[in-house]
């Protein structure tokens, strides 16, 4: 099977996987005791109130109809075009769009996942390599001990120790939240377009004239370089050019109408840079440091052990000896030859762990008051927010499949045998 058809099959297979996952969550949530309708009423509730709420939440319909509605919503193209994410229904607790809620919580999770993954993999792999090279020495034992201990230590324990040391005693870093309490969260890049709006046409003309002039000059310059002229290629390019131009002019006109163009990623470290606010950048990095270190150190244990075992096996292989015999540098042999060959199982683990983190690191997020997906899911399970849980699980399933797809492609890159 070629790589392309392999990837296509993998992508197609995600659909039944997700459907199965969704159906299971759909049923399991409804089997659990507890009723989101009653939970809206802390105290007294008349029967008509309960009935109203049941209708409001769409729970008055038979189960199959609820299921069909949900699936139908997921593939509603109009909704996706209007909101930019699939219709995951309205939350049963807050009546807001679940898609919107998940996407608002996701950047926090993503930011934490990225940084802790970097810490975990760099630390884990390096320590693993060092341990395998100094096999059975004291250093090896120490690193192995470190791997085992970090693997076993609970997140909240290490987190609280860090908070106590760096937050309470040394007062270097904030103990929680995504940015120090007295600093406002970064808003990203905001461009105020105060241009008097002449509407679509005038903006189109204005930007076209400027753009076309420059393009013409560039084309003229290219001509000098004797680029071979081909009509078909030119026609297609021209069409693409014009479409891109219209889209661009329309978008810019739209933002001029709104008067404001906002670019925000939701990742505080990046948003503060976009905002060009060094104070916020430093504060957001400081706030990230403790949670990502905690998570990174705890995850690194697994990589230490995995790298060490695999490296030990690889270092014994003939080609390593041959490479050494040829007089290659020690580091080239270790990192360029041996590590690359020992990397496959580590890569799988990297992908799996990253996908896990994208679902929200519940304990870390709670310990550091980090408003991400993990806390969202826990809160919503307590409330029996069926739609929110379904949405979160669908998204989680999507992350896992996406990440494993990427891992598979990387596999093919690292190990050409797979491409055969």
């Amino acid at each position: 099977m070629g790589l392309r058809s392999y990837i296509v099959t993998r992508i197609l297979l995600t659909i039944p996987t997700l459907l199965l996952l969704l159906s299971m969550v759909f049923l399991v949530m409804r089997v659990l005791p507890g009723d989101p309708v009653a939970l809206h009423f802390e105290k007294k509730a008349e029967p008509w109130q309960l009935e109203d709420m049941r209708r409001k939440l769409g729970l008055d319909k038979p189960l199959w109809a609820q299921y069909a509605d949900y699936i139908w919503g997921l593939i509603d193209i109009n909704y996706i075009l209007a909101y930019g994410y699939p219709n995951l229904g309205k939350s049963m607790q807050t009546f807001e769009e679940v898609g919107g809620q998940i996407f608002s919580a996701f950047p926090a999770t993503l930011e934490l996942a990225i940084y802790s993954m970097i810490i975990a993999s760099v630390m884990g792999i390096l320590l693993g390599v060092v341990a395998s090279k100094s096999y059975n020495s004291i250093l090896d034992h120490l690193i192995r001990g470190f791997g085992t201990v970090t693997y076993a230590v609970p997140v909240f324990f290490l987190g609280i120790i860090f908070q106590l040391v760096f937050g309470v005693f040394l007062r270097w870093l904030p103990t929680g939240l995504r940015i120090r309490a007295s600093v406002a969260p970064p808003t990203g890049l905001t461009i105020i377009l105060s241009m008097p709006s002449g509407g679509f046409i005038s903006n189109f003309l204005l930007s076209s004239i400027a753009g076309l002039t420059i393009s013409a000059i560039c084309i003229a310059l290219l001509k000098v370089k004797h680029v071979k002229f081909r009509f078909k290629g030119f026609a297609i390019s021209l069409a693409v050019f014009i479409i891109a131009w219209v889209v661009y002019a329309y978008v810019s006109w739209y933002f001029v109408l709104k008067g404001k163009l906002q670019i925000a990623t939701g990742l505080y470290t990046i948003d503060s840079l976009l905002e060009a606010n060094p104070v916020k950048f430093v504060e957001s990095v400081k706030a990230l440091l403790l949670p990502s270190l905690t998570l990174g150190i705890i995850l690194s244990g697994i990589f230490v052990r995995l790298t060490r075992t695999n490296m030990l096996e690889t270092l014994r292989l003939d080609f390593v000896t041959a490479a050494k015999a040829r007089g290659l540098r020690e580091s080239t042999v270790t990192y360029g030859y041996a590590l690359r060959n020992a990397f496959l199982p580590i890569l799988t683990m990297l992908g799996l762990q990253f996908a896990m983190l994208l679902g929200g690191a519940i304990l870390t997020e709670t310990t550091f008051s980090w408003p991400g997906l993990g806390r969202y899911i826990v809160q919503r399970i307590y409330f029996r927010d069926y739609t929110a849980i379904q949405g979160a699980v669908v998204m989680f399933g999507l992350f896992v499949t996406l990440v494993s797809l990427v891992v598979d492609i990387l596999y093919a890159y690292f190990d050409p045998r797979i491409r055969l």
Binding site: F95, Q101, Q163, V227, P371, Y376
Partner: protein, 590 residues
């Protein structure tokens, strides 16, 4: 890709970049030109003024100039002092606004807390009140009620303005209450529905520009308490459509319909996934009491922590100036020992009680219920679990409040002889023990439930004639269990909507507890208490209700919570009274 296509694509990119910068540049230029031209006009005006002033100046003596200089220096010094003083209070909490800041829906502690800072009600409870019945004027300056308590008149404060300059008047009051009542059918989970606005208020009438009249359906003495709660906040018709509630979204002004006639206005409200991550309140320059220097702190920033331990760490690390709700009893006692922090103590209003399913054996027998009530050991629960930060409760009405009694003291605490004597005739003894399941909530809906439950079991088992099995469920299941009446004995809690015994006393027979207990005499006494403003008479009536409750023990009060806040030593002006309100506009930083 062909080379030419690639180069065209590059050209498109270059074109887009160049043209967008052109656009950006032209737009800046255009806006600059307009600013400059208006600046030029202003400059010309200023020059004209200056020449006029210089003309007048020659007449001013040198002495006056010296005087002016001295005044300026004094002002400068004062200004420097002001800028040095901290103007922002950072508050850490584990709360979050549940759904909205619309008084027609909000029905949670923190939502009400924010509403209190930004919205205005006709009256409020005096800070530091012990009974919760001392009302002070807010948007109403005086009031009176008819003899039969069904007609209430309020004279409104004059000269209060909204943001856009609109003057507050009686039509706004009428609109606010009409809207709250109209939305009850749409928002069945909202506070006006829960508090029964529709049943209590017949209609509201604006008698004149500054006089408003409420017609009630029945005599209702706690009406003042209802008016002081946040569901009675005045809304601004522009932002409060009559037929729909205002939901959370982007612009803080558009996300709450309340007229910002309170001490603060909402300047920032960010939520992630249905939970707050930032709330910022700024001083409201239009506040009617601004002349008395309220609010005392210009900005309040709320920051949201996930649980009590993380909040405590944030306090200790100095990340927040103040932590309110929820720091655990152990932590607060610990912090009290630390001179770097100040702990504020107050009265609590949350009560916890035991409920019995009275329709089934064994609890259909009153003697069994009384026997259990007598075997409870309240002080050990308060001491062991709450480190004496909660108080034993011997009436469903909390201490200091009107109508509070010590009725349940009659049964005693850990009064095992009495328990045995009651159970012996029913055939329960050391060999044939009374066995039953005691349920508690396990997901933290109430504080320290599991620890409490262990002590309840310990106290009851210690009687020697009972064998208690503990069972638990997390909140969602617990509530379903309550409604389907499968729990024979369970622990429940109550947090008041308005500070009045009227909002507590009915718990003995509340139908939604599903204890299947009802008592016509108690109900009659309760309704009589509702219909009189005579405080002595009301006290008597609630005492009578308590006396019957002790004999029936359908619901047995256990404890009333305490309240506390932790601050940095420079924070002052905190009142933690029975209303449980945190009045941020009184807080100041030294």
């Amino acid at each position: 890709m062909e080379k030419i296509e690639l180069s065209i694509a590059v050209l498109v990119l270059i074109g887009i970049i160049v043209s967008s910068s052109t656009m950006y540049y032209t737009s800046t230029v255009i806006s600059n030109v307009s600013t400059v031209s208006s600046d030029v006009l202003k400059l010309a005006e200023a020059v004209a003024n200056l020449t006029l002033t210089i003309g007048n100046f020659s007449t001013v003596s040198l002495e006056a100039i010296a005087n002016l200089q001295a005044k300026l220096a004094a002002m400068e010094a004062a200004l420097a002092k002001m800028t040095l003083a901290k103007k922002t209070l950072v508050v850490g909490t584990t709360d979050s606004v549940e759904l909205t800041l619309d008084p027609a829906q909000a029905y949670d502690y923190f939502g009400w807390c924010i509403l209190q800072q930004i919205a205005g009600t006709l009256i409020s409870v005096k800070p530091g009140s012990t009974t919760g019945a001392d009302f002070v004027p807010e948007l109403a300056v005086s009031w009176n009620s008819s003899q039969d308590l069904t007609v209430w008149d309020f004279d409104l404060r004059q000269g209060v303005t909204f943001w856009d300059g609109t003057e507050f008047n009686a039509t706004h009051v009428k609109y606010s209450f009409d809207r709250a009542i109209a939305l009850i059918t749409k928002i069945p989970e909202g506070a006006p529905a829960g508090l029964g606005y529709g049943d209590i208020i017949n209609h509201t009438e604006d008698l004149s520009k500054y006089k408003v009249r409420f017609h009630l359906n029945f005599p209702f003495s706690p009406f003042m308490g209802i008016l002081a709660c946040r569901a009675s906040a005045i809304v601004e018709p522009t932002y409060a459509p009559i037929a729909q509630i205002n939901h959370t979204s982007g612009d803080p002004r558009a996300s709450t319909p309340v007229a910002f006639v309170g001490p603060y206005f909402l300047s920032e409200w960010k939520r992630v996934a249905g939970r707050d991550i930032e709330i910022k309140l700024d001083k409201n320059p239009f506040y009617w009491n601004a002349t008395s220097q309220y609010p005392k702190t210009e900005h309040i920033i709320f920051r949201f922590y996930s649980d009590a331990p993380t909040l405590r760490l944030a306090v200790e690390a100095g990340d927040v100036d103040m932590a309110f709700r929820h720091i655990s009893p152990t932590d607060v006692l610990d912090l009290e020992q630390n001179p770097n922090f100040k702990v504020w103590w107050g009265t609590g209003a949350f009560v916890q009680y035991l409920c019995f399913q009275t329709k089934r054996a064994p609890f259909n027998d009153t003697r069994v219920r009384v026997a259990i009530a007598a075997a409870l050991n309240r002080s050990s629960v308060c001491k062991t679990v709450f480190l004496d930060l909660a108080q034993p409760l011997y009436s469903i009405i909390p201490p200091e409040m009107l109508g509070h009694t010590e009725a349940f003291k009659k049964l005693g605490d850990a009064n095992y002889t009495f328990t045995r004597s009651l159970l012996a005739p029913l055939g329960y003894n050391e060999t044939h023990k009374l066995t039953f399941d005691l349920w508690y909530e396990s997901s933290g809906h109430y504080p320290m439930s599991a620890e409490q439950a262990l002590l309840y079991k310990g106290a009851l088992d210690a009687s020697g004639v009972m064998q208690v099995t503990l069972k638990s469920a997390e909140w969602a299941s617990y509530k379903t269990n309550r409604d389907s009446e499968i729990m024979d004995a369970f622990v429940y809690g109550w947090y008041p909507d308005y500070v009045d015994p009227d909002d507590y006393s009915f718990l003995y027979w509340a139908s939604w507890l599903h204890t299947n207990y009802s008592n016509a005499t108690q109900l009659a006494l309760y309704n009589e208490a509702r219909a009189t403003t005579n405080l002595t008479r009301r006290t008597e009536l609630y005492a009578q209700i308590d006396n019957i409750a002790v004999e029936q023990c359908s619901v047995v009060p256990v404890y009333v919570s305490g309240a506390w806040a932790v601050t940095m030593p420079n924070v002052d002006g905190i009142y933690l009274d029975i209303t449980q309100d945190m009045r941020y506009w009184l807080i100041y930083l030294k």
